[in-house]
Subunit: 152 residues, 2 copies
Amino acid sequence: MLFQVDAHAAEPIFEQIVFQVKGGVAQGELAAGDRLPSVRDLARRLSVNPNTVIKAYDTLHREGVIVRRQGAGCFVSDAPSGLADAERARQLDQLVERTVTEAFHLGFGAGEIREAVDRHVKSVRFPGKNPGKNPHKNPGKNKNANKKRSSA
Amino acid sequence: MLFQVDAHAAEPIFEQIVFQVKGGVAQGELAAGDRLPSVRDLARRLSVNPNTVIKAYDTLHREGVIVRRQGAGCFVSDAPSGLADAERARQLDQLVERTVTEAFHLGFGAGEIREAVDRHVKSVRFPGKNPGKNPHKNPGKNKNANKKRSSA
DNA sequence: TCAACTGTTCTGTTTGATATAGAACAGTTA
DNA sequence: TAACTGTTCTATATCAAACAGAACAGTTGA
């Protein structure tokens, strides 16, 4: 998986990393058990301080997206959210309210908003759905994802 | 309209104000031409520095949500976004990608995401749609919104 | 006209988050 | 055991957010 960050963007670097990992998992580019680049490796590749990568991985770990094994590396988790249902519902509501409100002020109508959501929902690899029809993840490409030290 | 902010929230105070105004407009609680509270009044009510309110109003003005008339006040604008179509599309895409990805990691499926979007889309007062069926905005409540100095 | 409101624009200061640099310690793997 | 992993410190620089206070300028209505 290819990482890239923009040091001049409004979004903090560590959050850019967090979202790229989340996006990779959602798109099926990263699967449960896959190993992330090591802290030092990713920091070198992005020309960024290792502490910044650590902060990103901390966030991903806190949200249950990855698990960390000292000495071994960080791996994509397969466990679900872990939050209480009420909290999950609250967060979804807040996310969607935000997006719909902003879309409204961008001048989009109900139909256009629903279309955009549909488009993105279809690109996501939900668990137990559409096995093997995702454009990413060349079959066999990840055969040694847990063996080698690092991958793209 | 009722404003409230949380000084301890992760979101900056000025952004909370911005979103509440945007939400008010989207929900039909604020209509084009309505006057916002004055900078000093809102600052006093929220126990917040006037400069913070100014920053919020600056943002709303920059995004075309309000217009400002020195000595008179700030008013809800009726002009559309003003951004180029390509930029509007780009921003919508980014918003929706973000929300769908986060919803995925919260453990929600395609159906639940679409439902949440539907629910919020229906609560929004799109221009030229559903005249007068919105639960907010008691008819006649705003009869002097442009005459009095300040309102809730 | 004038008082009382409005927005606008300064100059500061404090605080916290972001990101950097560098070092050291601890577990894993081949 | 060597070379990698994650982990945990300290310290520093920079910037955004929010605060405090003052002053200037336009609008409104009595």
